[in-house]
């Protein structure tokens, strides 16, 4: 009986860890920039969803590829239809964990952290490690990161005819705002 009680208590503890408050931002911004000799292409997704669990340091991001908007609508169609194949692979996701210690959401300040995890784009999952800036204030946590994605790593083909139009490695930046209230 005593053992069962201990078991229950410990189980409760394990479960409660999972149920802790997770910070979520449903209006995150992801942006990419491709710099090539003929043209520069950029697109912004303002409906990225990001989450951070302060208890275990886990991080997750998901977004629909069709929410990336380009200046030219035809580019957007090509992006979805020919490169990213959004019907087949509708989302880009990331799941990872903070590697570094020291982030304290109760103390305002700027913290540079390293996040390691798995980035899935175009159905291909690759390891990604990136520096993430956490700007903590009393009301919110701003999270910013910048990293590079090689299209080849995710099996995104660039036809030779547009090799001068599309960079082989694109710069990606993402921004989230988590409310602490």
């Amino acid at each position: 009986m005593k053992h069962s009680m201990i078991f229950m208590l410990m189980l409760l503890y394990v479960v409660s860890v999972n149920a802790q408050d997770v910070l979520i931002d449903k209006g995150g911004v992801a942006h990419f920039y491709s710099e090539a000799p003929v043209e520069n292409i950029e697109a912004t997704n303002e409906k990225a969803i990001g989450a951070y669990n302060p208890k275990d340091g886990s991080v997750a991001v998901t977004m629909f590829m069709k929410d990336f908007h380009f200046e030219k609508s035809l580019m957007e169609e090509h992006f979805n239809e020919n490169y990213i194949e959004s019907d087949k692979y509708p989302k880009a996701t990331f799941k990872g964990k903070l590697d570094s210690k020291g982030l304290d959401l109760s103390k305002p300040g700027t913290y540079m952290q390293t996040v390691g995890g798995e980035l899935t784009i175009h159905g291909i999952t690759k390891k990604l490690r990136t520096e993430v800036e956490f700007v903590v204030s009393k009301e919110e946590v701003q999270v910013n990161t910048l990293f590079k994605v090689a299209l080849e790593d995710h099996d995104i083909e660039i036809p030779k005819i547009v090799i001068m139009n599309i960079a082989e490695v694109v710069d990606v930046d993402a921004h989230f705002n988590f409310s602490l209230k």
């Binding site: 997770v22 979520i24 275990d56 997750a60 609508s73 020919n82 959004s86 019907d87």
Partner: protein, 290 residues
Amino acid sequence: MNIRKYLIVLLLLGIRFGLQAQDDLLAMLEEEQSDRTILTEATFKGTRVINGHSIETRKAGVMDFIISHRFGTLDGGGYELFGLDNAMIRIGLEYAPTDRLYIGLGRSSFEKTYDGFVKYRLLRQSTGNKEVPVSITWLSSLSIKTLKDPVNEPTFVEKMASTHQVLMARKMNQNLSLQLMPSWVHKNFIGTEDNQNDAFALGLGGRMKLSQRVAIVAEYYHQFAKINDNMLNPIAIGVDIETGGHVFQLQLTNATAMIPKGFITETSNDFFENQIHFGFNISRTFQLKY
């Protein structure tokens, strides 16, 4: 049971939960996305299947400049360089005021015809929260034939013909799209050899992607009630090639006209007698408004 067993169970549970916590965070977020509806894009690459319209319209603020050519028929042989000595041309300028509305004007050298059309997307195929299996687009086209006709001397109104179509398409999967086009053509003026002012037809169209940038397309209209019994049904097969802002459509068809009332009801060439035109459509889009 002794406590050690519990601890092992607990440890395993802990590992399980610990692993899940990370997965769950992403799963939890993906749950948040389940209420989204995603519109199906690019059922056809261009606003035309081949001769006729597809359900597609351009996005708001885009202007499309379309040049279409139909050369003479292949049965002209080497003397006519398989039709290349003759060419019919249509120049079109089209614009999308909204994502659903599309308007256009054109001038065809064939019978010196001016045409205008209005296209409206009534229903869009989508997946996700709101699943819509098909896209439906309405098309109304009006044309005025300005070729001089000293025998009949038609009035301005008599020179006009209109076509109304309900375009219904489904992108079956990434590579295959199919379209049905119930069509009604009305001519204000008909000749003595014609039997009625109206034609009713059902069109069938399809696109199959061969690669990311190349697709084969086919289109056929079957007339159930003809304006003129000597006219045949238009058949067309083609290849779509796209490069950046351009879409090239190369085709073989027995139709000479490039507007609906023309190719549906006035196709006199027999596809199976080699009376086939080689032709192409080139589309160049310009983003006028962002």
